[in-house]
Symmetry: C2
Subunit: 328 residues, 2 copies
Amino acid sequence: MKITMSEGAGGNATAKLISGLFLKYFNSPYLHEMEDAALLPDLGKIAFTTDSFVVRPLIFKGGDIGRLAVSGTVNDLLTRGAEPKYLTAAFVLEEGLEIGILEKIVASLQKTAMEAGVEVVAGDTKVMEGSGGLIINTAGVGSVACGASLGARAIEAGDCIILSGRLGEHHAAIVSERMGIDSEITSDAAPLNKMVGTLLENGIPVHAMRDVTRGGLATILNEMAEVSGKEFLIEEEKLPVSEEVRSFAGILGLDPLYMGNEGKMAFFLARDRADDALELIRKSPYGEYAAAIGTVGDAATGGVILHTAIGGRRRLGPLYGEGLPRIC
Amino acid sequence: MKITMSEGAGGNATAKLISGLFLKYFNSPYLHEMEDAALLPDLGKIAFTTDSFVVRPLIFKGGDIGRLAVSGTVNDLLTRGAEPKYLTAAFVLEEGLEIGILEKIVASLQKTAMEAGVEVVAGDTKVMEGSGGLIINTAGVGSVACGASLGARAIEAGDCIILSGRLGEHHAAIVSERMGIDSEITSDAAPLNKMVGTLLENGIPVHAMRDVTRGGLATILNEMAEVSGKEFLIEEEKLPVSEEVRSFAGILGLDPLYMGNEGKMAFFLARDRADDALELIRKSPYGEYAAAIGTVGDAATGGVILHTAIGGRRRLGPLYGEGLPRIC
């Protein structure tokens, strides 16, 4: 059996590889929680996470692999209620990479780190054969306030599900670049510190968050439904999608529910504060198009149900097959 | 200007890329210390580091990329006096990688983590085009006892320099595999927790340590001499090198001083406890062939001087040119 692109798409095949191989050997309970960052209580309560970035092209409309590398790791720390503090940045350069391009990416990485209030404190550089490509890994640590234990296990029946903005923009931007399509769609890659910070500072009872990346909203909701053992009810007509992405997806036969973002967060929070939360998110950077998209049901079935725009109900599964593996 | 293999060899070209490009943008004082791990005092005093591993072949005599990925990051944490605690492991799989090979490597990584007493708490999996290769990044955090601040800046004139074992074994093992040479030389990749732990527990006044990796002993000594502003005097005839590596290097025109190891530490410590330290290292795992190889001089020239076996003195520079970039 050999690895195919499907194992990298963030959907069903990725999940199978993780549970069938990695989790078979790595027996840490922190890892088995299946969250985006580990909470480590014995080291003064820190959160710890990692992500490698292999996106092609390296620079695209609205961002680049450097901005992505900070945003992805910062957003993963935020999902556990941590304040992102320090990053490592490890570069694997392919022979033939233009140093001018590398410099642009490093500058962008540092600019995004400053925006996110994190400091790059350690690094590594390796070179391998190839054709001018670049892979970046960032790992991050953040500090967690006492008492916080955000995660899918804390999701409660009745919770409101809020999505912080419009679906599919990063995915559509990368597909456009790859296919040479002249499109106005820009990537949404961004660190969401201020958005998350404003909710926590205002005492909004957030139970869980997850950034919407590979595999899209449908996939991350399925992962969270499985871990929480709850059923999520999503209203299709409330899902925010721009006109541009809508028509782009239509032409190419893509489904915005399975298209990745890099600057969108799904929040699960107590229903009685949902209106306050929505207002705070909409006023924060990158939150203009936030919407309440559904609720957590009572049924302990652990799935995702979509109420369609024409009144139907269907079970929404995780991504199957390839998707677009190298969007991040 | 394009990246070449030289930038990955860990020598002069790597240093130039780091100081000329990365340090130009990343302005953290922790990064500018040029140590193998950052000490972060505000998060309950933790050490934080990262390394990517791109070695070919993936499995070699004495180890594999998984064992290397744990050993390298654990040893980097140890150099700052930290107790390694948690690792992240991020896998970039190339399409076509045999899942059986991946499983062997994951099993070895976990086995080495258990040997080193660290827990893999977070991970990531990506897939890219390629020819069945694999890149692993590990980041690590460790806890630092109050008061410890090991590093090249703490090196003092008069310090004894101890090398924990024989030079060049990992490098020679990888070259053998690549060239299809039938050799008995095995990689020394190993986590050195017990060796370092026994010195610190016994109150040996260690001022600095550095694991001997890319670029070999000569290169890491040059880096430390520059940071410390001290001159190191190395006795060539005291350098431990096995008969096998000696003849291997001779035949291929390699210099053991520039050949990388993955399980050797150079210690700088107070001279009056050097004999005790040597005895403790020799009794600890992987320390059998430890030797006192030199001293720190008074001259504030920041260089490395080799006293040769035939009575000469010469300045020992860092690695220039290619070396063998993909040994780790």
